[in-house]
């Protein structure tokens, strides 16, 4: 099954290699990985989607924590997080296209239904930009193909995720408040580091 991890990591050369290398060592395929700046200075935020056994999550998270460049790791699923992906699609459309001059207007209509935007118009192609869940993006691509359009290029960012609400976000809680910063200075223990219902021994691949 697909697991989605949010990792805050140090923004330094080589950190991405460490994360990628970890998944390689565990023989787990990364489905998508997005990296960008976060709300904290010198800290990158990664959203990693990987395909692994449903009970592998604890071990992946524990292994991510073992990287010295990792600040925090959170695993999210669809119900408690907003998950989005950005996609750019270049479609062949123009006078020489089989649909002829109608092709452009048909694509405009389709993009409206899927809430995609036209971001570039060239004599023989149209570029669409779309943000949404992965399934929605796949839906648009499928409709375009089945309508006989030639998709020239697709560029997808891979998933980005963020927990819903403020209080449920352990990431914000851990990093944004004065209290938790103090905790970092004096490492005693963080009783809320993991939700109480997560009992490690419960998860194991039989």
């Amino acid at each position: 099954m697909l697991h989605t991890f949010i990792a805050l990591v140090q923004d330094r050369p080589g950190v991405l290699t460490r994360v990628a290398s970890l998944f390689r060592r565990l023989n787990i395929n990364i489905v998508s990985l997005t990296v960008g700046e976060s709300e904290r200075a010198e800290t990158s935020r990664m959203t990693i989607v990987c395909d692994a056994h449903e009970n592998a999550a604890d071990r992946i998270r524990a292994s991510l924590y073992k990287l010295e460049t990792t600040i925090s790791v959170d695993e999210v699923n669809r119900t408690d997080a907003v998950v989005r992906e950005l996609c750019l699609i270049k479609v062949a459309a123009g006078p020489s296209h089989p649909h002829g001059l109608h092709s452009r207007s048909q694509i405009f209509e389709l993009s409206q239904v899927f809430r995609a935007r036209v971001v570039d118009l060239a004599p023989e192609s149209i570029m669409l930009e779309m943000t949404g869940s992965a399934s929605k993006i796949e839906g648009l691509l499928q409709v375009l193909r089945e309508s006989g359009y030639t998709i020239l290029e697709v560029s997808r960012t891979g998933r980005m995720a963020m927990r819903r609400g403020h209080h449920t976000s352990r990431v914000l809680e851990a990093l944004g408040t004065r209290q938790s910063l103090d905790l970092q200075e004096f490492p005693t223990q963080d009783p809320d580091a993991l939700p109480s219902d997560e009992i490690l021994p419960g998860a194991f691949e039989e």
């Binding site: 524990a62 073992k66 010295e68 993991l194 021994p201």
Partner: protein, 591 residues
């Protein structure tokens, strides 16, 4: 330089490097010079408290730092130049990584201006060592050297220890920067958010221990790393729980202790493995359920509950599913657990007399076929050699002052079976990686760290030849190391697998060796050849008391095997025993 009166003196990067090492309490560096690290060697003389041991191969430098760390618990330090010097460290770093040994490796790197241009002796060593170090750094500026090195030491020794590599460009070594040791102090080590021994889990553990009728403690390397030897023994004694050890946990508890069973796993004694299979509770302390200790996982200790106390959360449920996980430093967890157990002690009737009797009954059966109890039949067995070295040390009252450093193979398993360890850190061996050639250099590290102790190398004829060049290092450093080469003319463990699994197809396992005593003599090291059992103890005593390095070549039975043996895929109780009609152990014929 480190004691300079100027508060923030301006030093070169090379001087900062050595001053930081001195500040971290380092007294010995194992290394080999070369172009990209020469600025450091150029200023070595300014730091008279730092002793540099010149090795003969950088792999040995890493093993020496490793042996130093295993013997003391302190961070070992090794140093090499860029390119081949750095890549030669790789096997040593991997050995330390998989056995959780704290070492800091320093490598020179080409100047930052030519990084990435395939300059002479340039290699991406931080890339190469990524999976075999706990962490690594590339330093390109002199200002970064002190803070990065201090962080490297902290990472190496914190949490689950491990090797850290610091790659420093030549221009960073040559540039000048202000040095302030205190200001370079790293932030406190980040607490692992998954470290937790919750009260609910604690309570569960207490309940499981109270209810257990056939509990057993599995003592791993973490017992020694955590310094929890006394706590483990106290727990075992208070609740009458027998202790089985992993290879690296063998020296965690005294072998003569009545609750100490010995080594578990592939070559563990039958009563140990049978006890694990029959147990109703496993208390796994600082061990990681390696395949060499579990055998076939689907049949591993099928009827037991399992409590895992471990500092690395990624080890939980990795190989064996456990019922209770207490994640944290073993000593701390036990100090929380013990008071809880005292207020809820195990019922007296379950104080294990039946269980211990059952385990001990197995000992009698196994020892019938035990090679140690066979009378001298004129053949020399490696098991006898190792057992007699132990007898000699024990008779001299030197057991607590003896460190055995083994190589990898049959002799390593015989050592584990027949040398009865008495003190923590008295056995140094490559467990996880199984690195042949480890013994001689690791023993040098141990002897440098503990000059007052008797350090024995026990190596096979194969592994010894891998790093035999370090004999020169022993002489150059004037180290009184005792070397036992167990020579059976074969790569013995390979031969045993070929005998057992590959229908005696002895492909490339017979190995020719030099005359080891002459080889030692060429280095100026005294030696002796032993072919009779009666000569073992006198020569061991001679070696131990000579005050100089001494090599003994023991010419032992060529086709002896290590038993019991659990073949790959078999369960712990499905072991191969020593053949009852083994031609090797037939008694001498009556005249």
């Amino acid at each position: 330089m480190a004691d300079s009166i100027t508060p923030n003196p301006t030093l070169t990067g090379a001087e900062i490097l050595l001053a930081t090492l001195a500040g971290e309490g380092v007294t010995t560096v194992f290394g080999y010079p070369g172009g990209a690290i020469l600025p450091v060697y150029d200023v070595l003389r300014k730091f008279p408290n730092l002793h540099h041991v010149l090795v003969r191969h950088e792999q040995s430098a890493a093993h020496m730092a490793d042996g130093y760390a295993r013997a003391t618990g302190r961070v070992g330090v090794c140093m090499a130049t860029s390119g081949p010097g750095a890549t030669n460290l790789v096997t040593g770093l991997a050995t330390a990584m998989i056995d959780s040994i704290p070492i800091v490796a320093i490598t020179g790197q080409v100047s930052s201006k030519v990084l990435g241009t395939d300059a002479f002796q340039e290699i991406d060593i931080t890339g190469i060592t990524l999976p075999i170090t706990k962490h690594n750094f590339l330093v390109t500026r002199a200002e970064e050297i002190a803070p990065v090195l201090r962080e490297a030491f902290q990472i190496a020794r914190s949490g689950r220890p491990g090797p850290v590599l610091v790659d420093i460009t030549k221009d960073a070594q040559q540039a000048a920067a202000a040095f302030d040791f205190e200001a370079a102090k790293p932030r406190p080590y980040r607490p692992h958010p998954m470290l937790r021994a919750e009260s609910s889990s604690m309570q569960e553990a207490v309940t499981l221990i109270r209810q257990a009728k056939r509990p057993i403690i599995l003592a791993g390397h973490g017992v020694v790393e955590s310094g929890a030897e006394r706590q483990v023994l106290a727990l075992a004694e208070a609740h009458r729980i027998p202790i089985a050890s992993t290879l690296l946990g063998l020296d965690a508890v005294p072998a003569e202790h009545p609750l100490c069973l010995g080594m578990m796993g592939m070559h563990g004694e039958s009563w140990v493995n049978n006890a694990i299979q029959q147990a109703d509770l496993l208390l796994a302390f600082g061990m990681r359920f390696d395949d060499r200790v579990t055998g076939n996982l689907t049949k591993y200790s099928p009827n037991s509950k399992k409590i895992h106390v471990e500092i690395d959360p990624s080890e939980i449920n990795k190989n064996v599913r456990v019922d209770v996980a207490l994640i944290g430093d073993l000593k701390e967890v036990l100090s929380l657990l013990m008071p809880l157990l005292e207020t809820h002690p195990r019922p007296l009737e379950s104080h294990g007399s039946e269980w211990l009797k059952q385990i001990n009954a197995g000992k009698g059966n196994a020892s019938v076929r035990d090679i140690i109890n066979l009378p001298d039949n004129g053949h020399l067995y490696a098991a006898h050699v190792i057992n007699d070295i132990w007898h000699e040390a024990a008779a001299a009252g030197r057991l607590e002052q003896t460190i055995i450093v083994t190589d990898v193979g049959q002799h390593q398993m015989w050592e584990a079976q027949y040398f009865k360890h008495h003190a923590p850190r008295s056995l140094i061996t490559s467990g996880g990686l199984g690195t042949m050639g480890f013994a001689l250099p690791a023993a040098i590290g141990a002897k440098v760290a503990c000059p007052e102790k008797d350090v024995w190398v026990i190596a096979g004829d194969g592994g010894f030849q891998m790093t035999a060049a370090e004999l020169s290092t022993i002489v150059q450093e004037g180290l009184a190391i005792n070397i036992a080469v167990i020579n059976n003319g074969f790569l013995g463990m390979v031969r045993q697998w070929q005998e057992t699994i590959y229908e005696k197809n002895y492909a490339s396992s017979p190995i020719l060796s030099p005359n080891f005593v002459l080889l030692a003599a060429a280095h100026g090291i005294a030696g002796a050849t032993v072919k009779q059992r009666a000569d073992v103890i006198p020569n061991a005593r001679l070696a131990r008391t000579s005050g100089k390095p001494f090599l003994i070549e023991f010419q032992v039975e060529k086709e002896d095997g290590v038993y019991p043996m659990i073949t790959p895929g078999s369960a712990l109780h499905e072991m191969l025993r020593r053949p009852q009609h083994d031609p090797l152990i037939e008694l001498p014929e009556e005249p």
